[in-house]
Symmetry: C2
Subunit: 182 residues, 2 copies
């Protein structure tokens, strides 16, 4: 951030009085521009013993597989975000269930949430951001081709919990990946 | 948002190609300025049969009681945010426990999360944003003077769950309050 989005003047980066962190501050109009973490919401859509995955048609991780997920929008709920992303990326209709994983990713200032979901019909197909959409049994999941760690963690918990018959919220915090993964 | 925070030019509000929602777009440098929901994280600090509340020294809801809570900052986890807010508002040290409530507040584009926590000692006192900090038994909670609905919901769940001995994540979505409450 270099300019004030309210008045267009150049901003400075300093700690406002009474605050404990430096912020982008406009010395002309006085606006303090806070920057906060973003929420990424996804769904884990299930059809019988299979899970719906999308192959990414966009960067980052073009060509890799993921659960339908994306940035939460203003004016929606987390569950609505899960359903919207699933419709956009896989043209798939779901019934959103319980919040299943909540994973902090502080080095990129994100919080990832995945909801369990029931796929309502088989009329899915790739949306604009997907190359391919398909249902996978546990033994067919392309583990080495999963785009994000929060997604592979959510999938591993799902298959473990299904085997054990115990469903619970899973929380975690991810450290930065090793440099060679970036 | 009126000006591009990257180059200072005036922005327009339109739906970028391939997108489904209007965004603030800079026609000069091409930056798309996304706006996303913010996360408010709080703690529910417990000492024996009592809960720590803070009386607000700031607007909104000056003079009303709340759990320690505030906007999550970049580069931290949700649990770290809960501990930081508790230290800032109540000078209180806690051990953060399980995520306890997750409440969508879509009409103000916020997601509120409250963690259960164990108060580590009695050395609390008001921080800069609090008039007063105190421990309350259930029968002494000033229910009519709680600042936010997500906080009173979290407290009610806590006392109910404690009575029943069953702890679980509680999720909810809040509609806009009646006009006379605003």
């Amino acid at each position: 951030m270099k300019f004030c989005s309210n008045c267009g003047a150049a901003v400075t980066f300093r700690t406002p009085p009474g605050d404990s962190l430096p912020r982008h501050v406009c010395e002309q109009c006085g606006t303090i521009h806070y920057q906060n973490p973003k929420i990424v919401v996804g769904a884990l859509p299930v059809w019988e013993d299979r899970v719906l995955l999308c192959r990414r048609a966009i960067e980052p991780r073009y060509g890799m597989w993921t659960l339908p997920a994306g940035f939460m929008e203003n004016q929606e709920t987390t569950a609505q975000a899960a359903a919207r992303e699933t419709l956009e990326e896989a043209c798939a209709r779901i019934e959103v269930g319980e919040l299943y994983t909540l994973i902090d990713v502080p080095h990129i200032s994100q919080v990832h949430m995945v909801y369990r979901a029931r796929l309502l019909d088989l009329g899915f197909k790739p949306g604009e951001e997907s190359l391919e959409v398909a249902l996978f049994r546990e033994e067919d999941i392309p583990w080495e081709q999963i785009a994000f760690r929060s997604i592979s963690m959510s999938l591993r918990h799902f298959f473990d919990d299904r085997r054990n018959g115990t469903w619970t919220l899973h929380t975690a915090s991810l450290a930065p990946p090793p440099a060679e993964w970036r």
